[in-house]
Amino acid sequence: MAEKLVIIGNGMAPGRMLEHLLEETPGRYRVTIFNAEPRVNYDRIMLSPVLSGETDYEQIIIHGDGWYIKNGITLYKGHRIVAIDKAAKTVRSDRGITEPYDKLVIATGSVPVILPVPGNNLPGVLTYRDLDDVNAMLLAAQSRAKAVVIGGGLLGLEAASGLNARGMEVTVLHLMPTLMERQLDAAAGYLLERAIEQRGIKVRTKANTRAILGADRVEGVVLADGSVVPATLVVMAAGIKPNAELAKDAGLHVNRGILVDAHLQTSEADILALGECAEVGGHVYGLVAPLYEMAKVAAANLAGRETAGFVHSDTPTKLKVSGIDLFSIGDFADGEDREEIVLRDAAAGVYKRVILKDNRIIGTVLFGETSDGAWFTGLKRKAANVAEMRESLIFGQAYQGGAALSPMAAVAALADDAEICGCNGVSKGKITGAIRAKGLSSLEDVRAHTKASASCGSCTGLVEQLMTLVLGGQYNPAAVQPLCGCTALGHDEVRRLIKAKSLKTISAVMQELEWKTSCGCAKCRPALNYYLVCDWPDEYADDYQSRFVNERVHANIQKDGTYSVVPRMWGGVTSAKELRAIADVVEKFEIPTVKVTGGQRIDMLGVRKEDLPAVWAELGKAGFVSGYAYAKGLRTVKTCVGTDWCRFGTQDSTGLGIRIEKFMWGSWTPAKVKMAVSGCPRNCAEATCKDVGVICVDSGYEIHFAGAAGLDIKGTEVLGVVKTEDEALEHIVALVEMYREQGRYLERIYKWARRVGLDEIRRQIMGDSEKRKAYFDRFVFSQRFAQADPWAERVAGKDEHEFQPMAEIGLPVAAA
């Protein structure tokens, strides 16, 4: 009579084992399977395409009901085994069936890790392991609401991509700094993140889930930093652990998984274990390739055939999200004894890295172009010595025969004692060592700790490549936008070097920083001019030829080549005398349009360029000065009537506005600066959408900044509250000076603030009185050179050539 084989679990591993067994010894065993899942053996790997809609369940069944019948196998669907009695050699199911066995195979797979956080059992919290989970997700997706996937590994990303394909708004929360960090290095993780985000899936790394919110259903996820991500569905894909409880209860030896020898024999005679629940030679597995190896060995064992047993090998990882090509195998951690070869093609989104030890491949990461994956795997498995093809290895199989090294690979190939920074004598090893040991992640930090590239800066590119080598995608020098096509340097770099090398003219900057053009372009010249004006207020001679026409002639050019004239009207306050002067000028010069601007003053539009000096002369007589309506500088300070008239006014908002405008006019800034002062929180001067705003309150002055109401609309942030008008002025001036010194040309305050951080600004301006005073003093110094009314200067004859044609030629006459 046939022996009795009982299998617990009907997953992919025992399914494959049975195929081998039926082939080797048909009829030797009578087989009974208990499966907690109420279904036949299906291809679990393909659940993701089912979720995304690329296929359906029927298509992924491995063994249909007919297969079990044909092979005389009894399959108990939906029966969970709750106990193994190894003395009596029986198993018992949760539905009360007790089954005797001669041989028992445990193949209970894995269980998903459920994070031990409050709310983890709320309805709407799912895991991703079987078809039931997929069906539940599909149901949730019908509402097209928001999903959060916890875990940015293989499973999590496939779930996210599937839910996204089903129309949900998906956010992936990942604890680690980069996605799939167990299979990918940081550089590939970064590229993956970008590719995922390009699909419209939000990714938040370093996101530590603290709790799941909801009264009787999921409503959101709370992170450790206190932020809340709203969700109607939460999928936990935070990892799996071998399902070994049952075996442990039965007294089998269990470590991480059920301990088995190379023949899949557990600590108990007649009991085998295989699949994800088993631990062989210290390894547990989560991909099917090794499980299928186990299936072969287990089948041979049951058939009584001798084999060499199971041998560990690495399995390549691939992500089944269509359009994302990713491959990784083996060990890719950095280490003393390791070398690496890297190839990047930023335009094509390709990244390849091969890790070598003693000239043998121990790991490979490929992103964007994975066709050589198998080839690398083969070389690794064979432990082939690749010294001979080292130069061209990274280019793949097709290139064996020799192509040139990419610059990145060339840097990677440099010896550790190679000198990188000639000025300060810093070697490659010293730089990479410092980056690793001190966890440096910005160029500034590397400079501070190693001095490399801190002098002439010409090795900046090399240092950045080294940073990329060590940090991978965390450091992305491509993110440094060059100032324009004339240079590879970014704004910050140029600003730093102007100071460091005391560059005081535009041609000095272009010479020393190796500009690629003879005299720049319309993008870089105004930027450089600003940086020099700002950094050397007393020494630099403003280069008018590098200013946009409006700032050169101190009026705004109009579409027909005429100009507009906007005089200052301090704080928006005017008088009969001023209005009369404007009226006279308009009549005298036949100015076609007079308009009240959005900045509380009056604009005269359509003035001929030739008339500008005369117009200004007339206005000057009434005390008007230029309103700088054209400037990357202080524009207007809007005010409301405040305590002067308003029944709600708490402070003299008009007075403060005028005081600020009089103090700060004439200063040049990276982009225009608009301010406002409102006398109470009703905020009639609209101070909360300005670059800098003040809301007066009973107890003092609430200073706001970083608002915008043009191309972007953004409410301000509060800088802080101060008690007196003097303090308000000091804080505002210091803030603007900080911006003047750090801002990139054309970067409004709100963008600069986003870049450097609101807290950093508050720390320096509100928290550090010495810093604040120093900023204030530097601003005051620069105003000594800036506060000269440009209109008066031109009326007095400055730049006369600007306003007159060089010649007028009369009608032609025939030559004699």
Binding site: A522, I557, P805, L811, P812, A816
Partner: protein
Amino acid sequence: MTGVAANDGPTWETGPGRWIGIGSANDIPRRGARCVVTPQGRIAVFRTIENRYFAIEDRCPHKAGPLSQGIVHGRAVTCPLHNWVISLESGEAEGADEGSVGTFALKVEEGQLFISAEALAGWAG
């Protein structure tokens, strides 16, 4: 000189080889421009960083912006209205933009600038 000026400036005589004086080269700032007013319209006269002089129509091919008001770089000018870049040598728009303006022959003699009368005569304005 024969002929009468319509205004106080120099008049111009047509005919081959005639040049009209428009002023001193130093009247134009380096990397800058000045205008010459003619009955047909304005001409922009440029001086580059290398002290080369060019005269082109002061009317951007895009929307007639005054090119004389733009920023001069290399041998090109960026229009002040919408940033087209116009070559001073050819009068053609550079980059992706298409269009061109007329150019006029100039010569410098002993620091004085002269514009070609022939070129002016051939210009409809």
